[in-house]
């Protein structure tokens, strides 16, 4: 079966972001970018399904400006077979991303679409669910285990109280949680090979979808700073301060 993996280029997870002085957005100029960590897990899962003989082809897709081809090449180096870049200069919200992906799903007809559960920049946790709604497919979100079984896929999900396993009819949408797998590192020969793998560039404007934004960001501000605390010398001092100064224990 064919597996489609949408990926996103985001700020590297180790970078401490700075808000622009005019409060219009965070400052992404000259900041290290990478594949969103959850998307990396999605690519790894798809590649493992291929190695296990379950998947026959792994197609990655990213929506964004030219620069996201760097992350597409990384995904190809990790083992994806080919890629689609849907080019747009604007940053799109989850619903519009899901609508573009819906068109691609219609075109590619994958049996499984694996996405990350959320991107670490917008922290929305929406796109997979929205794509599932638009395509009418069932969804296995926050997956920590994915087992394809005939015309169904069993997905173990990380839920508030522990784990829950659901059975989904294929084709289906899965979104990855951190525990699903440990992504591999791309080896140099694979990085070289990835440069020759097919990458099909499409324009978002050609899909005939109204991509106008659904929400305005009025401002972006830094969070309230916590004032520096004190270092205590002993447990006695700690307990005393918690009781009498902070009054959080009695």
């Amino acid at each position: 079966m064919k597996v489609l993996v949408p990926i996103k280029r985001v700020i590297d997870y180790n970078v401490k972001v700075r808000v622009k002085p005019d409060n219009s957005d965070v400052d992404l100029a000259n900041v290290k970018m990478a594949i969103n960590p959850f998307c990396e897990i999605a690519v790894e899962e798809a590649v493992r399904l291929k190695e296990a003989g379950t998947a026959t082809e792994v197609v990655v897709v990213s929506i964004g400006d030219k620069k996201c081809q760097e992350q597409i090449r990384t995904a190809l180096a990790l083992g994806a077979d080919r890629a689609v870049h849907i080019e747009t200069e604007e940053s799109l919200d989850s619903l519009n991303i899901a609508k573009l992906l819906q068109k691609l799903v219609e075109e590619e007809a994958p049996q499984l679409v694996i996405l990350g559960k959320q991107s670490i920049d917008s922290d929305n946790n929406q796109t997979g669910q929205m794509l599932a709604a638009l395509t009418g497919m069932p969804q296995g979100t926050f997956a920590s285990e994915v087992k394809v079984d005939g015309d169904k896929v069993n997905v173990t999900r990380e839920v508030d109280g522990g784990l829950q396993t659901v059975a989904l009819n294929l084709p289906a949408i899965v979104t990855t949680d951190l525990r699903l797998n440990e992504p591999r590192y791309a080896k140099l020969p694979d990085i070289m090979k990835a440069k020759r793998k097919p990458l099909d560039v499409k324009s978002a404007a050609d899909f005939g979808i109204d991509l106008s934004p659904r929400a305005n960001v009025l401002k972006v501000t830094p969070p309230a700073e916590r004032s520096a605390g004190v270092v205590v010398e002993s447990i006695d001092e700690l307990v005393e301060k918690l009781k009498n100064e902070a009054k959080v224990i009695s």
Partner: protein, 307 residues
């Protein structure tokens, strides 16, 4: 009119729902609470007592027993026709089905709001809480999930009318197989007034027992960092952070946790933060109100004995 989705486990209403109703109050308008589940009469009774709720809608059907997104989203989308705003708590159930509702309604979803500026303008953290965005929704109908820690719970002194909803929709494309839930006598992590969390420094799962005596004395819930979960010390539902649970207790005690950006995202709105770590350079000390540089294996037994 606002429709709020009640979080529950078919036997009791989750405390977070009371905070989500507070968010609905801030938006303003008649508030209806939807209880979708199976054999969930007790939840409906609790829901009727939630302050400022005008009506409780109960969809009691086997199709909603496990609150599968495919089925619940159809129900909520159908009901949404009568409401200006649909709200759920940003817990795993709400995060699962609400974006599906939003897409079916062809509107954007505003996720994880921590404050309400007006009926169409909301405040939400982005970049693991390192920036706060004020967002104005342009859609006629609003679909919103609420970060419960951003709001104070409403009282439970109401007396709402309870109305049963007859229709049930089973999308027929997914089914529930099994649950593997963590049994615990302790307070729920998301709602506990005190949380004590262990990280990689705990070294193994057995050492988490060192936290239990302290948790018992303080009535605390026990949490963990991603490192502790990934290493298999404790189950995933104990993880506090950007991708785990968001907590904001009165007192948060971080033991053997370095304080990575992703962990801080889940706890830095706690009222008082205590860090116990042997590395004085650990980033956790930059957000801790009280820091103790010590070996946790000495500090924890002593702390327990002195509480």
């Amino acid at each position: 009119m606002i429709l709020v989705y009640a979080e529950h486990d078919n036997s009791s209403l989750k405390a977070e729902t009371l905070k989500t109703v507070a968010a609905a109050q801030a938006i303003g308008g008649d508030i209806h609470l939807l209880v979708a589940g199976h054999n969930c009469g007790a939840v409906a009774e609790e829901a009727a007592k939630v302050n400022s709720v005008a009506k409780v809608l109960v969809a009691d059907n086997a199709a909603y027993e496990h609150q599968l997104a495919e089925n619940v989203s159809l129900l909520v989308t159908e009901l949404a026709a009568d409401y200006d705003t649909v709200i759920a708590t940003a817990l795993t159930t709400g995060k699962n089905f609400m974006p599906r509702v939003a897409a079916l309604l062809d509107v954007a979803q505003i996720s994880d709001i921590i404050a309400v500026e007006s009926a169409d303008t909301f405040v939400r953290p982005i970049y693991a809480g390192n920036a706060i965005a004020t967002v104005q929704s342009l859609d006629a109908k609003k679909v919103i999930t609420v970060r419960a820690t951003g709001f104070d719970a409403v009282a439970t002194d109401g007396a709402a009318e309870v109305v049963a909803i007859g229709t049930a929709t089973d999308a027929g494309i997914s089914s529930h197989v099994s649950d593997e839930l963590t049994e615990s006598e302790r307070p729920d992590l998301g709602a506990a007034p005190v949380v004590i969390s262990g990280g990689r420094g705990m070294q193994n799962g057995d050492n988490f027992k060192l936290l239990e005596g302290i948790a018992d004395k303080l009535g605390a819930a026990i949490g963990a960092s991603r490192a502790a979960v990934d290493a298999g010390f404790v189950p995933n539902d104990m993880q506090v952070g950007q991708t785990g649970k968001i907590v904001a207790p009165d007192l948060y005690i971080a033991v053997g946790i370095s304080g990575a950006i992703q962990h801080l995202a889940g706890m830095k709105d706690s009222k008082v933060i205590v860090a116990i770590n042997k590395d004085p350079e650990a980033p956790i000390f930059q957000v801790a109100d009280y820091g103790l540089v010590a070996d946790l294996f000495d500090a924890l037994p002593e702390l327990e004995s002195k509480l």
